[in-house]
Amino acid sequence: MKVAQLSQDDLARRLRRGELLLDLPPFVARLRSDVASLARDIADMYGEFTVRPSNVFADFSVEVSREPGLRRWYKPQARFYYDGQPSFAPLPAQQAFPMIEWGLNWCVAAHAHQFLTIHAAVIERDGRAVVMPAPPGSGKSTLCAGLIQRGWRLLSDELALLDMDTGLIHGMARPVSLKNASIAALLDFAPQAVMTPPVPDTVKGTVSLLQPPVASVQRVREPARAAWIVLPSHAPDAPPVFSTHGKERAFMTLAEQSFNYDMHGARGFEAMGRLVDQCECLRFHYGRLDDAAAAFERLAGGSPP
């Protein structure tokens, strides 16, 4: 059963009881919350995702619950819980959905050590994936959000999960997090995009989440092999330019952006090395999403950047 097949009441009840199990391949997450608005956001963003029976094993049990006492009425706050334990400081209750998203990212980054986990967006076309590792502010998520509106499959906008044995990358095809000016830029580029209402005043500024494309969610169980490592950077109105990036430096960027590279020791070094081996490594500087989409179209078509 898909989330979209649940009535809003059923979804809200499962959420209140902690009986909403979302299939986020390769994981299952159990969600619980008493924040009423969360059911709407989950329905909007995760409609195509599969709901698992409430009695199956969940890799992560997460909860966002309203803080007790006067806080329930005066500037209500909510807190994220992992396996029943409070994690992180409480935040305004209206940030409940971004909190779930950030919390799920943290769960994967902090616990899924069967993978080499890299802070990177991953998109795929014709069986070849682009891995875009980059620190916040590089335009990575904006670029990812734009390209998945133009035929690229979304694996992830935040977490590349590298299977060190197969060399394949897994993603969860979860909603793409956009902030501040990127929200308007994406809607200008793709007016049909479905996004959550913007949530102002978060630690990242104003945040809105973009619904993942249906086709990406339908293929969420298919990992992909990387063919390119692209380090994006953004400046307003900059022309789109690909340039070659040294593989050694790409390796170091991937290692720096990995959450658990150090933990895997020599195995992680060798796996990262094989990933770099198989990829063309590029920098991409851009200003407008239209230009970026055209440049990536040429890249996918085999034109030298």
Binding site: M252, D262, E270, V276
Partner: protein, 95 residues
């Protein structure tokens, strides 16, 4: 004058795609280093051969250096070795 040696012949995993720079994984410390071309060349020579002085390394590398091995190249080699010593990749001992 110091004699320089690799901190462990089997200790380091090296990958270089360009043949110039390289990434080096230290299996003992768990650190990964990005080495500039000269440092990579020095490390690989010290991995493959007996300990030697900076001047002996300069002589080894003379044919690769644009200036054929001047005093400024010697200074660059000493700087590269010192930097690798601080990173735990090479060891200096008094000759």
């Amino acid at each position: 004058m110091n004699t320089w040696s690799c901190a462990g012949r089997e200790r380091f995993l090296v990958r270089s795609w360009s043949g110039e720079e390289g990434v080096v994984y230290d299996t003992l410390s768990g650190d990964t280093h990005l080495l500039e071309p000269l440092a990579l060349e020095l490390l690989q020579r010290l991995q493959a051969a007996a300990p030697r002085s900076a001047r002996a390394l300069l002589d080894d590398l003379a044919e690769l250096l644009e200036d054929g091995g001047s005093e400024s190249s010697l200074a660059a080699i000493e700087q590269g070795l010192e930097s690798m010593r601080r990173a735990g990749l090479v060891v200096a001992s008094a000759a």
